[in-house]
Each structure stands twice: as structure tokens, then as C-alpha cells.
């Protein structure tokens, strides 16, 4: 049986981990490679780096980080943030990334997803869907870009269908209402997308405790759950999360 995936996510800026990872025993808790190695040892199923480097000139630094990670960590690695050209994707894959996650560039020009999946294969093209609830009855969500600052007027469910048609291999769905709140995933949003599309879905945004991860899988129908702070602040190890999910009847790789 396919196991549900647990994916720690690191925000990386100019090659350094931001949102202070709190670990004892790490030589350099700001080095993404060290943190990646630690999560790998804890049994993470995949890793995600979100590159939030603002300056264009310093964008290349992430390639070095990816390259060094790929030398030591033998689990899938996804990189997102600022990807807007086929060359960006090629460089990341060549450096050792397995998947790239694309948001703004897809909204700006949806055909980019067709070109990217045509060139590199759907399996490495993750479409990041950042959505915010805009109506309660009927429930509706809208796509946001630029880290949740800019509304687009696009309906999130229609967008997911369209991205699937253009070749998206996976969705990374982040609730802009929940991100950073520790109130749990938006399970209604995730379930709605999961039930109308065929590609796997990663739930993201809002995890504050173990129950949220269970709900993301059980109620939100997510195939994978992504979290940052509960791992960074040492509230739980990946292994503890998996033991908990397993005790509640969820199939995980222990």
C-alpha cells in the first residue's frame, strides 16, 4: 500500500535557513544541508526547499545548496520559489533536485506548465496552489500569488483542473488563511481539489499539532503532508509524527 508522505519544508534565503531552526547538536543550524541531513535521519519521505531569495543576482546560490544536499541525502527533493523559465528548471534538476514547484509563473502564463511538463516530464512539475477562501456559501477559494499578497480572481478548483490538463504532476496546496496560524490545514479546500483531480496532493499551511496532520490525510484526502515549524522547533521529530499516524491507522513508512 502506498504510504502517506511526511515532508519537512525549509525556507531558504541566500543559501541560509530562515525562520530559525532550533536544533541542538547541529554545527550550523542555518545550513540547509545540515538540516536536510537531520530530517533524512529522522525518516522524512521527501524534503522541500522554498527559496525566498529576493535578489536576482543571488538566485544561483540555491543551486549550490541543492547540489550539496543531493550528495548526501538520498530521498526526493523539491525546490520552489522564483522559477519562471525552462532554464531555471533544467538548472535545478541538473543540480540534483527531483521536482520543482511553480506558482506565480503558472498564473502569469499557464502554458508554461505545458512546456515544462512536456520538456521534463509531469512527474517533476509540482504546481503550487496558494488559495484563500473568498465565500462561505457556496464555498469558494481564489488563487493568490506573491506569497499570498496578490489576488488573481481565479477560482482555485477550476485552476487545479486546468493545471492538471496542462501537465501538472502534483499539487502543493497552501491555504493562505491558515498559513502560519497553527490552526490546521484547510481540509475542505484540499478535499475539494483532491476529489476532482487525478494527481497527488500535498497539503500545506497551518500545522500546529499531530491531529492536524491526521486530519489533513483523513479529512483533507491529502497524499502527503508538509510542515515546517513543528519540525524546526523540535516539537516533534518526523519519526514521532509517523508513529502517531500509524497508531491511528494511517499507512506510513516507518
Amino acid at each position: 500500500m502506498l504510504a502517506k508522505r511526511i515532508i519537512p519544508c525549509l525556507d531558504v534565503k541566500e543559501g541560509r535557513v530562515v525562520k530559525g531552526v532550533q536544533f541542538v547538536g547541529l554545527r550550523d543550524a542555518g545550513d540547509p544541508v545540515e538540516v536536510a541531513r537531520l530530517y533524512d535521519a529522522q525518516g522524512a519521505d521527501e524534503l522541500t526547499f522554498l527559496d525566498i531569495t529576493a535578489s536576482h543576482e543571488k538566485r544561483g546560490i540555491i543551486l549550490d545548496v541543492v547540489g550539496r544536499t543531493a550528495e548526501e541525502v538520498f530521498i526526493p527533493l523539491t525546490v520552489g520559489g522564483g522559477i519562471c523559465a525552462l532554464d531555471d528548471i533544467r538548472n535545478l534538476l541538473n543540480a540534483g533536485a527531483d521536482k520543482v514547484s511553480i506558482n506565480t509563473a503558472a498564473v502569469r502564463r499557464p502554458e508554461f506548465i505545458r512546456e515544462a511538463s512536456g520538456r521534463f516530464g509531469s512527474q517533476c512539475i509540482v504546481v503550487a496552489i496558494d488559495a484563500k477562501q473568498v465565500s462561505e456559501a457556496p464555498l469558494r477559494w481564489e488563487i493568490y500569488t506573491h506569497g499570498g499578497r496578490r489576488p488573481t480572481g481565479i477560482d482555485a478548483l477550476e485552476w487545479a483542473r486546468r493545471m492538471e490538463d496542462l501537465g501538472a504532476g502534483e499539487f502543493l496546496v497552501t491555504s493562505m488563511d491558515r498559513d502560519g496560524t497553527r490552526d490546521g490545514y484547510d481540509n475542505a479546500l484540499n478535499r475539494s481539489i483532491s476529489e476532482i483531480t487525478e494527481v497527488p496532493l500535498i497539503a500545506s499551511g497551518g500545522v500546529g499539532g499531530l491531529q492536524h496532520l491526521y486530519d489533513g490525510i483523513h479529512l483533507g484526502k491529502a497524499d502527503a503532508v508538509l510542515a515546517a515549524s513543528i519540525f524546526h522547533y523540535r516539537e516533534y521529530t518526523v519519526h514521532q509524527v509517523k508513529e502517531y499516524l500509524s497508531s491511528r491507522g494511517i499507512c506510513v513508512r516507518l
Binding site: M1, L2, A3, K4, R5, D40, D45, G67, A70, E71, E72, F74, I75, P76, L93, N94, A95, G96, A97, D98, F120, G121, S122, Q123, C124, G169, E170, S194, E195, I196, T197, E198, V199, P200, L201, K221, D223, A224, R253
Partner: protein
Amino acid sequence: MIAIVDYGMGNLRSVQKGFEKVGHPARVVQDPESIRAASALVLPGVGAFRDCMGHLEERMLRDPIRAHIESGKPYLGICLGLQILFTESEEFGRCEGLNIIPGKVRKFRFEQEKGGKASPYKIPHMGWNAIRKVNAPPVLADVPDGAYLYFVHSYFVDPEDATVVATKTDYGLEFTSMIWKDNIFATQFHPEKSQALGLSILKNFAELSANGASRP
């Protein structure tokens, strides 16, 4: 020397780093001559079957790869490197493979649930799934029955000859997740992405290759 064939289908870095990590450096090669010179061949790759066959043809690698396999030297196929061994794939109509292992490459198809909801079996089959050993080769010596390994694919192989099936995996149906025939070891899962268990497969393959044995 172990040669990893670069034919333009995805990143080979993880595979190369994987061999390095287990103490058996491998070379990435792109030309027919280097393939002929290799003592063992690794063909990784993810993506489309048709593109893969097209690239092998263009680079004139098809015949040297076939010759390598037929000579009895060790071959490790990963994902596409497994699928292209077969007679044909259903991808985009019909597409011919190397026809070294008789059988077809089929697409996962799952019915919608009641009410038009998408099947819980998503495509691609992506993530960690368990293998069931059927006739496991020595390269799997350190991988226990039921172990989880990493998969990412939308097509699976369906061999005509059941004796080549090394492992099976469940995903809506039971499919062949590895084959073994003499010197041919080929996995649907990705050893290079399957942590220590995956690396043990690369190590065992490298050792078997270094011993010059085509048979255990």
C-alpha cells in the same frame, strides 16, 4: 567500470552520487564507444517512453546497449531503464521497446468513484510503497520483504514470462515492481531515492559487477 548512460532523460546525479556513497564510483557516459567499454551498465531515467527510445536511437546507443545485455554483462535498469526492455508500450498509441523481455508496458487506469469523484489512486503513482519478494535476486539481499521503496511512474510493466518477476507491489492492482533475468536487474522503484535500503541495491549491484559475475 560501471557506466551510467546519459541519454537526456532527467538527472543522473543522484544515481552517480549513490554509487559514490557506497564506495563504487561510476562514470556517466554518452557515446556508443563508452558503452561498449563498460563492464556494467546502469540506465536510469524518468519521463516518456517514446522520448527515451527516440533519444537512444538518435545517439546510436540502442545497439550497444542491446549488445551489452546480450553479452551477459550486468545491467541495472531504473524506471524507464526497466520499461524500455519490453516489447512495446501503450504510451501514445503504440511504441516499440528493445524487446529483450517479452511483454507490455501499460498505463495505470482507475475508475472514478460513485458521484464522479476521482479515484483515491492518484496518477502518477508517487511515493513510498512496499515490495513483495517473489523471486528476489542477490542485489536485494539487504532489502527485507515488505520494505518501502520510492516510486514515481504512470506506467508499469507486464511481462509475459512470470519467471522474470522479482518483486511485486500493490497499487490498485498488483504490478511487477522489479524483474530479474540472468544478468538483467531492473526496478520500477528508484534505489537512488530510497535512502539506505536503495543504496544497498546499488552497492550489491556494484559488487556483483566487480566480481565479473553475470550469474550469482
